[in-house]
Symmetry: C2
């Protein structure tokens, strides 16, 4: 309530103040990432008190030229059309690690700076990737479901497979991939990877295609960006190469996998299992997954913990403060 009151006071004064405007482009709850403070050198237009961006600009055309920065989340694109609406925009700040909802090329062309979460979420996402992997292999969620169903024949539960020593293929060897590798090395796993380029400082075996990586490993973990080159990078051929005992973990973006083919392969047992934090058409999760025991489903929460939420709020604020003080961004994308 105090914050709400605070919002209103600041917003009432906003029409006459000269502070640059920052539009929060996300669902009403998105205001949690940036709460107004008296010390801010910018003014927040937030979605809990304003209509969505398009409507807001239609209702308040004078703001089209006052909005200098946008803070946006996945599902709320900053594409050419949005950029067209905001001729004074100079900063796009996303609290996510991925930037596939932002037209980076168009931002670059217009001289708009972009900041992201940088490496803030890498550890939490890597933790989840490892958990999903053991969860699928050792059938933990399935066993928990089994016990709760009160069938009460614990000894009849099927065996899982061992993680220690498995051959792991990581797709995308950025910070998240590296954190996953570091963790799985402690499980005596053998790491290899695929990424845009071979990393000269890494001694892990490099495969130049995901198909080759899948052919040579027991597990594929997707930690890469979604873009035109990586869309459906895991297709039927890759899944068949991974094979009947193989596990796929996706903590990147849903469309990295051909979801229809994944479902078929899981139903027909062409792969062993999958741990999915992301889906092709979020928040939609295909119903066919719900009856499968060889899949663990997670509602896109790889990055989100109580701790990381505090961290990202601070980082978004720091990037905005830096920008409006003409200092370099802390976590620039471009």
């Amino acid at each position: 309530m105090a914050n709400q009151k605070n919002n209103i006071i600041i917003e009432q004064s906003s029409e006459d103040n000269n502070l640059p405007k920052v539009f929060l482009h996300g669902p009403p709850k998105f205001s949690i990432v940036l709460q107004p403070k008296p010390s801010h050198n910018f003014h927040i237009l937030n979605p809990s008190s304003h209509p969505p961006l398009h409507e807001f600009i239609a209702l308040n055309p004078h703001h089209a030229s006052s909005i200098t920065a946008v803070v946006c989340t996945g599902g709320f694109p900053v594409n050419a059309e949005v950029l067209q609406l905001l001729p004074s925009l100079r900063l796009v700040c996303t609290p996510s690690a991925g930037t596939n909802h932002i037209d980076l090329f168009e931002c670059l062309r217009r001289g708009i700076q972009v900041s992201s979460a940088g490496n803030l979420f890498s550890e939490d996402v890597a933790d989840l990737a490892v958990a999903l992997l053991i969860d699928v292999g050792r059938k933990i969620s399935a066993a928990d479901r089994f016990l709760r169903s009160q069938l009460q024949k614990p000894w009849d539960f099927p065996l899982g497979s061992k993680l220690t020593g498995k051959k792991i293929g990581i797709v995308g060897m950025g910070r998240i991939g590296l954190e996953v590798a570091k963790r799985l090395e402690a499980f005596s796993c053998m790491i290899s990877y695929n990424s845009r380029n071979k990393k000269p400082l890494l001694s892990y075996p490099f495969f130049s295609s995901v198909l080759e990586l899948a052919t040579n490993t027991n597990v594929i973990i997707l930690c890469c960006d979604l873009n035109d080159q990586t869309r459906h990078i895991v297709n039927k051929e890759v899944m068949l190469a991974l094979g009947k005992g193989g596990i796929i973990v996706n903590v990147g973006r849903g469309a990295l996998i051909d979801e229809k083919e994944l479902l078929k392969c899981l139903i027909e047992g062409e792969i062993g299992g999958a741990g999915l934090d992301v889906f092709e058409n979020e928040p939609h999760v295909p119903k066919e997954f719900f009856s499968l025991d060889n899949v663990v489903l997670s509602p896109h929460k790889g990055a989100l913990t109580s701790e990381s939420l505090i961290g990202i709020s601070q980082l978004v604020e720091q990037n905005l403060k830096a920008f409006f003080s003409n200092k370099p961004l802390l976590t620039p994308v471009i």
Copy 2:
């Protein structure tokens, strides 16, 4: 079917052969750990073709003196009463890491050797401990259940807590404890431990009581044996010391925790959550657990994977072969 046939043939010849007898003391399915082979220098009396030990001896009193070895699993005790029945017993071989179902003192007194799984399961148990920990903290099974319930509001799912950097207290720093520590170090966790004695070669901080350990950590992982000293080693006081954000993982034995107090603390939010592979009165799992979202339940399968089942079958066989060839046991307990 082939094995079954083989059993019968060997058993038919058993009455006249002079091979020492090995009794499989477990449920019918337990025969999976030791299948008869022509090369064996012993003869197997297995529970899929025989009644339980007491009944078997009552029906076949001449076998009382022919049974030289027993292979036994948890829930099938080898106590003073059983030892009394088998005056010729010289070896007790358990395929488990724990030996709390065996009266070791009485075995020692009678000059009976005992072998266990040794370190065979350490990696698999450690993998499960880590998975249960992340599962509870990051609410993975709960989230999977949430999605499958088709409420379909993924964004409303509550946040979990970060694992990276947490303070972890390990109770029992044997091989499993060490494997857990090795894995969690890769998550940048800070490890400390409690065990019977301080280990001079370990640099992790040592606490001489579980209460002190719980007071100084966010997580307690139970990897110790169950015995008179460790029964209910985690009591209400320990749980309150661990606190509202604290997590308990038990991959040891159920009775290490006062289960009634655990349930109360979970229901009342006095601790954050628990990941339980073991229960106080297995296979009974208290129904009150089933409605709790801050617990992950696993049907005592820490040690069991497809790979470890093959490994333990080989180890049991090797111990028996060694024993009957007057060679040292591979994994002696006493």
